[in-house]
């Protein structure tokens, strides 16, 4: 009732000037936008600008105060630092290996989950579990699994006689980095699998039937039908995972704290250590901006790929 009447009452004072109405509407619009403006400005724009400002000074304490201006000094220091480039290198290795493994396993898992078999619903819900686990819990769990003295991995591998004796999994730099990759792949593969599974279900059945009639085998139809049609989805998964993996922090914090010998210190962890442990907030802010630039670069590259890779059925 009131809904139908509302326009009438609104129309009644039409004789009033248009500018007044525009003003009132504008005010209403602004009022309605204000909450989101406050949120966007407060938690996105302001911190971004503030970090940029901080990165130009030698801020060495968390307290407000006056600090010497250093221009691009903090950025220069990063670019000239061996530790920085080592961390970037490790981050790239981590990003590349986790993303590739997650996509490959994700596609395989999705194909399995898409097949018709009894108890499929059960498997589908079990598979999602790792992804539902908080990252910190996941890290703590893998830390236990990898424990050299009472970890499950050592017990499993020695009982299967794969390795002759217990060994240390997080005790050497290169091994530790790869073990963090394992933990991440275990957790994030389900995400990739579910994206791909959703895409698989949209591929029309008759395409496969037609291919079968034409004499194509399973392998051939996978590479000629399934994979091309999955490309846009795989690209989306790639975008999401690359950006997330590049920022990896919590797994490292929980599992190794960057050690041993900085072997698992990724760029995000390096930034954290410089800012909060060494209290070099200016340098930390500059590092944060550099990370943002890298991710922006990924984003632009992928956006272009995505635009080009659009497919029609």
């Amino acid at each position: 009732m009131s809904v139908t009447r509302a326009p009438k009452t609104a129309r009644a004072p039409r004789s009033g000037s248009d500018s007044r109405r525009a003003f009132r509407q504008g005010r209403l619009a602004l009022l309605l936008l204000l909450p989101s403006l406050v949120v966007v400005f407060g938690i996105v724009v302001y911190p971004l600008l503030r970090t940029l400002y901080t990165s130009l000074f030698d801020v060495n304490s968390a307290f407000p105060g006056t600090y010497p201006f250093s221009g691009l000094g903090n950025y220069l220091r990063a670019v000239q630092s061996g530790e920085f480039w080592a961390a970037i290198g490790r981050t790239f290795y981590f990003t590349l290996s986790t993303t590739v493994l997650e996509v490959v396993f994700g596609v395989l898992l999705a194909l399995l989950l898409n097949a018709e078999f009894r108890g499929r619903w059960l498997l589908r819900s079990i598979v999602i579990l790792p992804w539902a686990l908080p990252t910190v819990v996941n890290g703590a769990m893998w830390r236990w699994i990898f424990n050299p003295e009472y970890g499950a991995l050592n017990a499993l591998l020695t009982q299967l006689q794969v390795i002759p004796e217990y060994r240390s999994w997080l005790g050497t730099p290169w091994m530790a980095l790869n073990m963090i990759v394992v933990a991440d792949v275990w957790k994030m593969t389900p995400l990739a699998a579910f994206f791909v599974l959703a895409a698989l279900q949209t591929i029309p059945r008759d395409l496969y039937e037609a291919a079968w009639v034409d004499g194509a085998g399973k392998v051939r139809s996978f590479f000629s039908i399934t994979l091309p049609l999955l490309t846009p989805t795989i690209l989306i998964v790639l975008v999401l995972r690359t950006m997330e993996a590049f920022k990896v922090f919590d797994l490292v914090y929980v599992m190794t704290r960057g050690g041993p010998a900085n072997g698992t210190q990724t760029i995000a962890y390096y930034t954290y250590v410089e800012a909060f442990s060494n209290q070099l907030f200016g340098y930390g802010a500059a590092l944060a901006y550099i990370i943002a630039l890298f991710i922006l670069f990924f984003a632009i590259t992928y956006m272009r790929l995505l635009r080009r890779g659009e497919v029609e059925y």
Binding site: F23, L34, G171, A261, S277
Partner: protein
């Protein structure tokens, strides 16, 4: 208002209004905050502690309960974090003044004090009081002749050994580091345990504590003025010793991923014969609920090298944070927690800071095996470097020492590289 049309007027109106509201509410908060501070020793306190070693969480809770029953108008909320997270938590919470009292490690007062993050309490902490405290403890919160807190945990790393394993291999408890290596060789070749030694050599402060103990024993120093000296003499020999025990398979390779709690677990499971650890391991390793080697664990003065046997000063103190709105109540709480009465009562996991406590029956009976050893060891302690940039110095050294331990670099190369980076860090400020 001059312009009442369109967005121009609106924007100005809303901005001014907005700022006005902001300023008013800010002032309101400020007044409320001041009000809290003027109550003089009452209100709610937030206290930050750590989870492991020394006093247990239960200890701290019951101490605090006792404090609250004496001071019914003060309520204390406790937060416990892992030692590894403690420093960064204090830094991140400092500008907001989240915690009224914080637990600070012996290596932090230089940094926190020089950055004004914790209160200089020299005036509230009279000399008569200070004279009753053991020297090693008193150093904990001192920086440039000022006191930034009251020592609370007086601790150093002791030498622990499994009596049974040593006698099975037919060796006497060693009292030199050479002797430790020989004993370990004997234990290993007798097949008593695969890796006789376990250490806390993860990339963490724990590594620096073990390294400092060895550096002291081998006669090294960290700095000569501003110049790093740990890359020569005793500092180098200490690292070479560490590397040797790994190369010969005397030390568990898992040492490079272990902190003190890992050492305690491995040792308590009977998978190591000798280890360095804090006082708390004695009670826990001899507690059948926590340990499979209960009753077989002895504690001793750290083994000596060519230059004696100093223990690393691993004490911690309680400080009042600068952001606290309730400094008087916070100080009352610190005084209570560090008081001799409370410390004597809870001596089982952490020994008191007070000189006369070591003659007190309550303390001696709590740890009859430890107190005689502690009396000697606590007189002879080595400090890690006291510099405001300690965290950076420490993390640089941890990484380079680990590179030497993993065989990436020779000990000499690693320490030279560390010395170079450390000099740069010290010059930067």
């Amino acid at each position: 208002m001059k312009t009442d049309k369109g967005f121009g007027g609106l924007r100005r109106f809303s901005r001014r209004e907005f700022l006005g509201i902001g300023a008013a509410s800010g002032a309101g908060l400020l007044l409320a905050g001041c009000g809290g501070g003027q109550q003089g020793g009452s209100g709610t306190l937030n206290a930050l502690f750590m989870k492991q070693a020394a006093y247990s969480e239960d200890n701290v809770r019951s101490m605090t309960k006792e404090f609250q029953s004496h001071n019914p108008d003060i309520k204390v909320n406790l937060t416990f974090v892992a030692y590894e997270a403690l420093h960064d938590k204090i830094v991140a919470a400092a500008p907001a003044g989240t915690y009224d009292t914080v637990l600070v490690d012996v290596v932090w007062p230089a940094e926190f004090g020089s950055k004004n993050m914790i209160m200089d309490i020299t005036a509230r902490f009279p000399e008569t009081e200070r004279n009753r405290i053991l020297g090693g403890a008193l150093q904990t919160t001192e920086y440039e002749d000022k006191y930034y807190g009251v020592p609370w945990i007086l601790d150093t790393k002791y030498f622990f050994y499994n009596r049974d394993m040593l006698s099975k291999a037919g060796v006497q408890p060693p009292d030199t580091w050479e002797g430790v290596a020989d004993a370990a060789r004997a234990i290993k070749s007798a097949g008593v345990v695969k890796y006789p030694l376990i250490w806390s050599w993860a990339q963490a402060e724990a590594l620096m504590c073990d390294y400092a103990t060895l550096l002291g024993a081998f006669g090294g120093t960290f700095f000569d003025g501003d110049k790093p000296t740990f890359n020569t003499g005793g500092g180098l020999e200490a690292l070479e010793f560490m590397r040797m025990t790994l190369d010969e398979g005397l030390s568990n390779p898992a040492s490079t991923e272990s902190i003190e709690e890992d050492v305690r677990r491995v040792f308590s499971q009977g998978q190591a014969a000798m280890a360095l650890n804090w006082t708390y391991m004695f009670s826990l390793a001899n507690d059948p609920a926590e340990s499979q080697v209960a009753g077989k664990v002895d504690i001793a003065h750290t083994p000596s090298g060519p230059s004696g046997a100093p223990g690393v000063n691993g004490s911690m103190g309680m400080a009042v944070s600068r952001g606290s709105q309730n400094q008087d109540a916070a100080w009352k709480y610190v005084q209570f927690m560090t008081s001799q009465k409370v410390q004597n009562k809870y001596a089982k996991l952490s020994l008191p800071i007070w000189k006369s406590s070591y003659e007190d029956k309550q303390v001696v009976n709590a740890l009859p095996e430890v107190v005689p050893v502690a009396k000697e060891q606590l007189k002879d302690m080595i400090l890690r470097p006291v510099v405001p940039q300690y965290n950076e110095v420490s993390s640089t050294m941890q990484v380079e020492i680990q590179k030497a331990l993993s065989g990436d670099k020779t000990p000499k190369q690693a320490l030279d590289d560390a010395a170079k980076s450390v000099s740069t860090a010290l010059q930067r400020s």
